[in-house]
């Protein structure tokens, strides 16, 4: 077993508000191995983006890491000062955000933005930095990179801009990239191009990726493992094929059934009634219990005691169905939804 590149232990992110303390990320633990792509999937408000933001040290105040540890290569990074963190950000952890227009400075040419990153983090001359910037733009598939380097962000299309952002994330050769909804703002044909590119580059550079998205299809195409988040907690985590074909947690089962799939004729989609609880009204016990169709099988435990991740099939699920006492129940586990 390799030592993980990134290890998150019991991360809890809270927001103090006038109406009280909101826990947006609640006791999340995960690891990413070198070269691995971990998908983090969930609906809006599940805490997936905040987990990414906490790892890269970009939580917006008043949000703060209440407890837990984040270790990069065995070194704690969650308690670094902003100055110290700035040396890591870009150098060791790169970031790709959803909207390429807001993550590029509209007043600077893209060449200047890329060389700035390179000069900040790597010990090279300005000429070498410029050459490296051109190489990077070539690598991400921008035609005529030596001319395009002097263009401004608004002169690029959405897909091309996202390529520039990827080259910017790779500029200082980080070992980990946090990609927060990198293809959500793009059309499907462009999304396919960007996913293919991201996969190829990460394989070539041996970069690990934490891919945050709400699109299960993108995860299926890209990730090695996937963590399904619900109401700030990890509901299920495991190898991507297992989670998609043999989901164990009732929420994952519902989620997979709710996604319409091409070439499959179903009269009705599986429906999870209700919606995700607000952060100020997370139910006691399992956060999913008011919407869960199987809580009757367990009894009162679901509404009183919060489940931690337990071994379930080939994945881990935070569900009392899989605790030791009721292990016999798992014979009627939900069948594969997507197979």
């Amino acid at each position: 077993m390799n030592t993980p590149l990134l290890e998150v232990r019991n991360l809890r992110v809270q927001f103090p508000t006038r109406r009280g303390l909101l826990t947006a990320v609640d006791d999340v633990s995960l690891t990413i191995a070198p070269g691995e792509v971990l998908g983090v999937v969930g609906e809006s408000g599940a805490g997936k983006s905040l987990t990414g933001a906490a790892i890269i040290g970009l939580l917006e105040p008043p949000g703060r890491i209440e407890s837990g540890e984040i270790l990069l290569n065995g070194r704690r990074i969650d308690n670094l000062s902003p100055e110290e963190f700035r040396k890591i950000r870009g150098r060791e952890i790169g970031a790709i955000f959803q909207d390429p227009l807001t993550s590029l400075n509209p007043l600077y040419t893209i060449g200047r933005q890329i060389t700035e990153t390179i000069l900040t983090h790597l010990n090279v001359t300005p000429d070498e930095a410029k050459q490296r910037a051109i190489d990077l733009l070539n690598e991400v598939g921008i035609p005529a990179a030596d001319k395009r380097i002097d263009h401004y962000p608004h002169q690029f299309s959405g897909g091309m801009r996202q390529r520039v952002v990827i080259s910017l994330a790779l500029a200082a050769q980080p070992k980990l990239i946090i990609a927060d909804e990198p293809t959500t703002a793009l059309d499907v044909s462009i999304q396919a191009q960007i996913i293919t590119l991201l996969k190829k580059l990460c394989r070539e550079h041996g970069t690990s990726v934490m891919l945050v998205t709400h699109d299960m299809g993108v995860i299926a195409e890209t990730a090695d493992r996937v963590a399904v988040m619900y109401a700030g907690r990890i509901a299920e985590i495991g190898p991507v094929a297992e989670v998609i074909h043999h989901p164990q947690h009732p929420y994952t089962v519902g989620l997979m059934g709710a996604i319409p799939n091409l070439g499959e004729e179903v009269e009705r989609l599986t429906q999870i009634d209700g919606s995700m609880p607000r952060l100020n009204a997370i139910p006691a016990g399992c956060a999913f219990n008011p919407r869960c169709t199987r809580k009757g099988e367990i009894g009162a435990r679901c509404t009183t005691e919060r489940p931690s991740l337990m071994n379930a099939g080939k994945t881990q699920a935070a569900c009392w169905l899989y605790s030791e006492g009721v292990a016999t129940n798992t014979t009627n586990t939900p069948q594969s939804v997507a197979a």
């Binding site: 396919a192 299809g217 070439g263 919606s275």
Partner: protein, 338 residues
């Protein structure tokens, strides 16, 4: 006897003037620039079916929806609803027609008046069309509508901000249903919603269609959603319809190279490991569309004819339509998907 066609869109075009202001044009010596958002689109929708239009951003699918609803007058062509040309109908006739179709918009946060209570929002079509005047009667109808869309009658005293995105979309649907329409135009009704909520709304729409015999024009960029809900599907590219066929045919045996590309670009949830055919390039600027077939710069089968001559729509016996020289000349190997 009523004909089976409820709505006919005949050679509709819609242009937008996106020129700079007059003074700039004079000083810079630039001509007017006209954006052809929709350029010669024709199709029909039968009673009780769901016709979907799909395409990438800027292909003109939402413009069609708005032209059909009368929110934009077409620059050319006609929209014929139940045998009546909407543009030529008298004001009186138009008002009668308006009751019979309604629209559901994409963003449930923007399409509900934040200062009105839900009851008033839902009752608005009833009042403005003069269908009901009696307050008690209106309240009864609103109660019934809220129940139909899965909300509670007590909710009519609340304001829109008290609801989640999915619940707001239910309110939009209740409002659209209030005047007992036959035809609903749904412009990306689920794209602002999470998947589990999207499933709720899609199921609700299917249930209502069965119950009231509704006809839908469904606009979406999400092919999986479209394959789930539609009877027939039309694929648009740069303001033109490139292919239209019933759902099964278009997803199993796409003819047009653009449809083939779109289908292979969707991330494969079943992880069958099928090879994608990555398509290079992006949608061109609609202000300056390519000559001939507008897809030719990205098309792997393009030849000289495609660059010069715009393909005509070919209609097959089963009613499916495709507009492509390569298909006509049988230059494309037929791909079976799924």
């Amino acid at each position: 006897m009523k004909s089976s066609v409820l709505l006919e869109v005949r050679d509709v075009a819609r242009e937008f003037d996106v020129s700079k202001p007059w003074l700039n044009r004079v000083i810079e010596g630039q001509p007017k620039s006209i954006l052809k958002a929709v350029d010669g689109v024709s199709f029909t929708i039968n009673r009780g079916e769901t016709l979907s239009l799909v395409g990438e951003s800027g292909c003109g699918k939402s413009t069609i929806a708005r032209v059909v609803c009368g929110l934009y007058p077409p620059t050319r062509g006609a929209v014929i609803f139940d045998g009546v040309d909407i543009a030529k109908a008298s004001v009186n006739e138009q008002q009668q027609l308006r009751k019979r179709f309604q629209m559901i918009f994409q963003d449930p946060y923007a399409s509900l008046n934040p200062r009105w209570r839900v009851g008033k929002i839902i009752a608005e079509p009833l009042v403005s069309h003069g269908i009901m005047t009696d307050k008690a009667e209106i309240k009864k109808r609103v109660d019934q509508l809220l129940t139909q869309v899965g909300l509670s009658p007590q909710d009519q005293e609340k304001f829109p901000h008290e609801f989640s995105g999915g619940q707001r979309q239910r309110i939009s649907i209740a409002r659209a249903l209030s005047s007992n329409p036959e035809f609903l135009v749904c412009d990306e009704p689920t794209s602002a919603l999470d998947v589990s909520v999207q499933a709720q709304i899609l199921n609700l729409m299917k249930d209502l269609q069965r119950e009231f015999g509704l006809t839908y024009l469904f606009i979406s960029h999400n092919l999986a959603v479209v394959s789930h809900i539609s009877t027939r599907v039309g694929v648009m590219y740069l303001g033109r319809l490139v292919e239209m066929a019933d759902t099964k045919t278009i997803f199993n045996r796409p003819l047009h190279p653009y449809t083939q590309m779109l289908l292979s670009a969707i991330p494969d949830l079943r992880m069958t490991g099928k090879q994608r055919t990555p398509v290079a390039g992006e949608v061109p600027n609609p202000l300056n569309p390519p000559s001939g077939c507008t897809f030719h710069p990205r098309c792997p089968y393009a030849n000289d004819r495609c660059k010069l001559e715009a393909p005509k729509m070919m209609v097959a016996n089963d009613g499916s339509m495709v507009s492509c020289h390569a298909v006509e000349e049988k230059r494309i190997p037929i791909k079976l998907v799924a």
